[in-house]
Symmetry: C2
Amino acid sequence: MPLAHGRHLVSIPGPSVVPDRVLSAMHRAMPNIYEGALVDTSESVLADLPGIALTKGQAFLAIANGHGAWEMALTNTLSRGDKVLVLESGRFAIGWGEMGQVLGLEVEVLASAGPGEPVDPAAVEAKLREDANHEIKAVLIVQVDTASGVWNDIQAIRKAIDAADHPALYMVDCIASLGCMEYRMDDWGADVTVGGSQKGLMVPPGLGLIWASAKALAAHKTAGLRTAYWDWTARMKEGAHYLRYCGTPPIQHIYAMREAIDMIQEEGLENIWARHLVFADTVRAAIDAWSTPNGLQFYVSKPDHRSNSTTSVRTGGIDAARLRAICEKQAGLTLGIGLGDDEGTTFRIGHMGHLNPPMVLGTLATIEASLTAMEAPMAGSGIAAAAKTLAPGLKADQVPAGQVNGFRP
Amino acid sequence: MPLAHGRHLVSIPGPSVVPDRVLSAMHRAMPNIYEGALVDTSESVLADLPGIALTKGQAFLAIANGHGAWEMALTNTLSRGDKVLVLESGRFAIGWGEMGQVLGLEVEVLASAGPGEPVDPAAVEAKLREDANHEIKAVLIVQVDTASGVWNDIQAIRKAIDAADHPALYMVDCIASLGCMEYRMDDWGADVTVGGSQKGLMVPPGLGLIWASAKALAAHKTAGLRTAYWDWTARMKEGAHYLRYCGTPPIQHIYAMREAIDMIQEEGLENIWARHLVFADTVRAAIDAWSTPNGLQFYVSKPDHRSNSTTSVRTGGIDAARLRAICEKQAGLTLGIGLGDDEGTTFRIGHMGHLNPPMVLGTLATIEASLTAMEAPMAGSGIAAAAKTLAPGLKADQVPAGQVNGFRP
C-alpha cells in the first residue's frame, strides 16, 4: 500500500519538471512548416536565445540532446589531430573529452584535486603557460558538473587563460546551469556555450543549444571536423527555414522553447538566479543538519563550489539505492542517481527550473521521512532547518495584512 | 521576486488536485453522443458508482455542483411543507437546510455543542423521540463538514435514529469525504448519499452525484418537489442515453469520472482510506507541534472527530489571511480560506484525493516557512514532527536493498 498516489515529483538534475504552460504549448496539431506562425516562432526563439546566455553571438538549435550539442561544438570549430584541454571536475567534462577522442582530437585531461573538487584556475594557467607553441586549440569545461554538483568559476578560468596569454577557444558546457545560475558568455569571454533543453530551460529533452562567439565562428571557417548535420554554415544560410535544423524542424520543441523563453523573460534572469540561490541554500541547510560522520555528507567539500542547481550527497553507511527506491516507490519522489562507482553511496537532488517552495521542501521532507523509515543516522531535522532557511526568501514584508471578504459558501 | 515559479499547488478542501491521467482523459474531441464509446463509458460509470459508496442502490450523475446534488436529493424525496431535521456541525449542513427552506420545506436545526463540535448521537435520538408523530421526513447530515473539518459518525447517528425508531429518510452529504474516508452506505443505513466530483473523486467541478436506497426511491414516488431537470424517474427511463442527464451529457466529465474510478479501483477503497489516514495524522502532527495558546490551534477540539480529508486551523493572534497570501503569492501554495466570520482567524488544509508525501509535506513545510517569515509563534517544528509521523507509513521494510547497476552517462 504505497503512499505514492499523487502527482509524481522528479527532483533529479534533469530532465526537470516541465511547466504545464510548456506542455500545453506542445499540444498542437502539425502546422504549415514552410511559412507562417511556425517559422516566425522559430526565428523569434533563435533571436531570443542569445539573451539567455548573455551574448551577442550566434545561437543554434539542433534536434539533439546535450551530447549532440557537445558534438556540434567540437565538429564546428576543430580539426582532426587538434589538441584540446579538458578541465575535469566530475563526470561530464570527461565525457565531452571522450567524445572528442572518438572524433580524432588529441585530448589532455587536467584533473581537479579529487572527486567533488572544482577546477583550479592556477593549475589551468600553469598548464597553458607550458603550452608555449599553442598546440591546445580549445579548453573544455562545465560550469556545473551534473554528476558531482561542482560549480566552476568560469570567469576565474577565463582570467587564467588570459594570464597565460593563450589563444585557445574557451568552450563552456552550461547544460546543468543555464536558467539556474549566473552566466555571462560575453562578459566572461566564453567562445562556445553548450546547453540542453531539459534542465533549467524547462523543456523536454530533444533540443541541443549552442552559442558561438565571433572567434568561434572564425575558427569554424577552417574546422576540419565539420559534418553535414551539425554544420553551422549550412544552418546560417539565408533561405528555406528547414536549413536551420538541417531538415524537419522540431515543431513541438520550438513551441515549447518559445513558451519557456517567455516564462524566463517574464521572471527575469536575475530573479531566476536569486530564486535558485534560495532553494540551493534551503537544500544545503537540510544536508548540513542531517550530516553525520557515518551518514550524509556533501559530495562537494568546498561550500563556494556547490551548484545552485543540483546537489550530490554521499550517504556513508546508508544504502543510497534503497533510499531512492523508498522515495520513488513509497512516496512518489524520484531522486537523482549517483553516477558510476558512486551509485550505491551517493544520491543527487536536482533543484533546477520550474520549482517553488512546496516542491523543494516537499522533496527534502520526503527524504527526511525516508531516512527516518530506514533508521538512518541524522544529526538533526534537515527539513526544520530547511524551512527556516527558506523563510527570509518569502519576503513576507512585501505581503500586507490579508484581505478578508467574509467568503460564505 | 516571489519564489512561486514552480507548479502551483492547491491544498484546499476541494476542488483538489486533478491527476494528469484525468486531465488527459478529458482532452478529446467531441464524440458520437448517440451510441458507441461515450454511451458505453457513461453506462459503465453509472454501473461502477454504487461501488464507490458501497451500496446496491441507484446512482445518478447530474451536470451540477454539490449544491445541485443537494437540490436533487431534496426535490426527489420530499414535498412542500415537509419537515426536515438538519444536524449542524459547521457551515455545510446548514447550507443544505437553507436550500430546503427556499424549496418550501420546514427546516429545524439541531446544533452541535459549538463551533468545531460534532453532531451528538444522543441529542439526535432525543430529538427524534420528541417527534412522536413522525413529522420529520428526513434527517440531513454531512459526514465531513468542509468548513469546520468535523467528522461525524454516520453509523452512530443511524443507531440513534434506530433507537428512536424513527422512519425519517437519512440523507448524508459525503462531498468532502467520499474517496477519502470510510463510508458504507448500505451497512450504515443511509438512504441518500450526496457527492461532488471535485474532492476525493479527483475530477474537476461539474458533476453532482447521488445514490438512492430503495427506501429513497419509494419516497420519490410521492415527492411533490420533483422538477423536470432533477427528476430521478426521467433519468432512470430506458431509452435514449440523453435521458440520463436530462439533455446533453457531460462528455468530458464522463471520461474524467471513468479514469478517476479506474484509479480508485486500482488502488482500492481500503488503501485509499488508509493513505488518507496517514496524511491526516501527518498534518495533525504538524499542527500539534506548532500549537501555542496564542497561535495555531485545532478548530475541532475532539481528536476523534477530525476529518482525514481536511483540517481547519485557528490562528489566534496570527493574521490568517496574510498567512494565506504569503503562501500563495510568495510560495505557490493555495490554502483553504476560513469561512464566514472565521476568515481572518482560520485557515484550512485540504488533504484529499490525489496526494503523495511530497505534496503533503511540501504543504506543511511551506506553512512553517511562512509562519517563520511572519515571526508567528510556534511551539516547535511542525514539519519535523510531520516527517517523523509519516515515516512508518512509507513501510520501508517492504523495500529491499537497492539495485545498483553502475549507471554511467
